[in-house]
Amino acid sequence: MSRSYSFFPLGDSAVLIQFESWVSENIHREVTAAARCIEENPFPGFVECIPSFTSVAIYYEFHRINKPDEFDTVYAYICSMLEQRMVADEAEKASAVPDVVEIPVCYGGKHGPDLELVADKNRLTPEEVIRIHSGQDYLIYAIGFAPGFPYVGGIPDTIATPRKKTPRLRIPPGSVGIAGNQTGIYPIETPGGWQLIGRTPLALFRPGAQPPSLLKAGQYIRFRPIETEEYERIREVSLWV
């Protein structure tokens, strides 16, 4: 692993490892690799890693850390343990096959009430919006905001659309939306201002399953347009998951 990272204390029970200050797929690979190194070789008192766009936070149970005397602070000791673990396997990182998760989406109609609006604003037909939205893979930089919600890379400017001025009070789970040049999928029912262009029948948040999220940071999403019949068929199956 390159040494282009720095440590910051996130209070007295977590360390933030910051890579660069701009978002890129290469930097995110460093984030994912660091989280994996630490999770595969946890130190006593380690709680969890939360990876994000350009950084990863490592949480620990302060009272379970036995700090050797040569370190002034528990934080310094944790940093040294993290440094030891972040030994890199560049070859492995480069050869890692991207993990692509297909998300079937029923665009437009009752599942995507704002598809026409997004098309109009961008002077496109709804079919063109669907083709552009589903025409590329999106890296998942982080899961956050809500359980199972993927923060993914930007959509092409040709379909970017500002948020609604007045947010909807209820957005059904599985709704696929656009806000500016971001796209996302709502895992749970929540209020929100995104322009809704479609809906997936897959459950992104599955509290009974292990892991409880369909998606994880570092994977890629590929949207696949489906018709209503297929939506209903998949939905019936996914209710049992």
Binding site: F8, P9, L10, G11, D12, S13, A14, L16, Q18, S21, W22, V23, A35, V47, E48, C49, I50, P51, S52, F53, T54, S55, V56, A57, Y59, F62, H63, D72, T73, V74, Y75, A142, I143, G144, F145, A146, P147, G148, F149, Y151, P187, I188, T190, F205, P207, G208, P211, P212, S213, K216, A217
Partner: protein, 356 residues
């Protein structure tokens, strides 16, 4: 073997120490707001770490006991009482079946904790009993308690008590003579000093904001809840406008949205935050904030990371000593009963957990 909710109160939820290991999936840690009151409540009734308790926000909650039970009430003082007889806090209390325990009026703090011996029996969801309100999972059917809900408890580790013990006049409950010292826990509705570290983006704020952060006081607004405490005070401004990339946050992270008014993130915080972080509350002072009501005043005091760690070390030592004392008291027969009566623990004593 249970409790029936008579009055639901403002917001009463089942909580434990929190849901960890799932932050990478966007799942909030949750758990109790006041970890100190929580731990002490469980130890007072012989529970292991991690048992589920009720977090009772403000007053107005009442439950009826369906069976005799050891309980402990800690945290903020909501005047717990049975038939107008005050039930003492911070100690084990034995409550007879048929009694109604109500939390009548807020006297200090804003969250009380009710632990029952054995711990409340609810399904574990993602390794935790905590109620995750936003996702509607965990705790009691993923929601705050409602009138008529019945809560069951796991088997108690403390002995059953037969008749002949020093109950109150109405014969509904009795308590031990000792309690956890109140000095350990002073909740103050006046201006409270909260110790913080500089946040990661502290230096991005302009010099007058950096000064004001530690000089002026901040009021807790009514828009404060288990997710975060919204404060109002001097405007905190960046020296230049900047967009920040969302990054992980922690309990006690103080972030500043564009309106310049800080938010202290609490138990139900989201896992990532996109606002600049001006400060980070030292872990030892998180329970203090958890007990401050809307309208309460906060003044931030800067400490170093080394000081925060020293405070944390002292806090843990104090907590362990308190726990050891309680465990000892629970084993001392003579200390049960307010007029020197003994509990005949007999063989049951050995069922007490094996504390290290």
């Amino acid at each position: 073997m249970g409790l029936t909710v008579i009055k639901p109160g403002l917001l009463v939820t089942l909580q434990d120490a929190g849901r960890y290991g799932y932050g990478r999936y966007g799942i909030s840690a949750g758990g109790v707001m006041d970890g100190f009151a929580y731990r002490v409540a469980n130890v007072l009734v012989g529970n292991e770490d991690g048992a589920a308790v009720l977090e009772i926000t403000w007053s107005g909650f009442a439950v009826e006991f369906q069976s005799d039970m050891w309980v402990a009430i800690t945290g903020g003082d909501m005047s717990p009482a049975i038939q107008d007889t005050r039930v003492p806090m911070w100690r084990p209390v034995y409550i007879k079946a048929g009694s109604v325990l109500s939390f009548q009026q807020r006297l200090s703090g804003c969250r009380a904790y009710l632990a029952v011996s054995g711990g409340f029996e609810v399904p574990m969801v993602m390794d935790s009993y905590s109620t995750y309100l936003r996702a509607e999972i965990g705790g009691y059917e993923g929601r705050p308690l409602q009138k008529g809900d019945v809560l069951n408890a796991h088997p108690s580790r403390l002995p059953r008590v037969s008749s002949g013990f020093p109950y109150d006049e109405a014969g509904t409950f009795f308590t031990v003579k000792w309690s956890v010292s109140a000095d350990l826990y002073s909740i103050n509705d006046q201006e409270t000093v909260v110790r913080v570290l500089r946040g990661r983006q502290y230096d991005d704020f302009d010099s007058s904001s950096k000064l004001a952060l530690f000089r002026d006081s901040f009021r807790i607004t009514p828009q404060s809840d288990r997710m975060g405490y919204r404060l109002s005070g001097p405007l905190l401004r960046l020296s230049q406008e900047k967009e920040y990339i969302s990054e992980p946050v922690s309990i006690g992270t103080v972030q500043v949205p564009a309106d310049g008014q800080p938010i202290v993130l609490m138990a139900d915080r989201q896992t990532l935050g996109g606002y600049p972080k001006i400060a980070q509350v030292a872990s030892v002072d998180v329970p203090l904030i958890a007990q401050l009501p809307p309208g309460g005043m906060i003044r931030f005091k800067e400490i170093t990371l080394a000081e925060a760690e020293r405070l944390y070390t002292d806090y843990i030592r104090e907590l362990r000593m308190t726990e050891a004392m309680i465990k000892l008291k629970l084993k001392e027969r003579a200390n049960i009963g307010s007029s020197g009566s003994e509990l005949r623990y007999g063989r049951e004593l050995r069922r007490l957990p094996n504390w290290q």
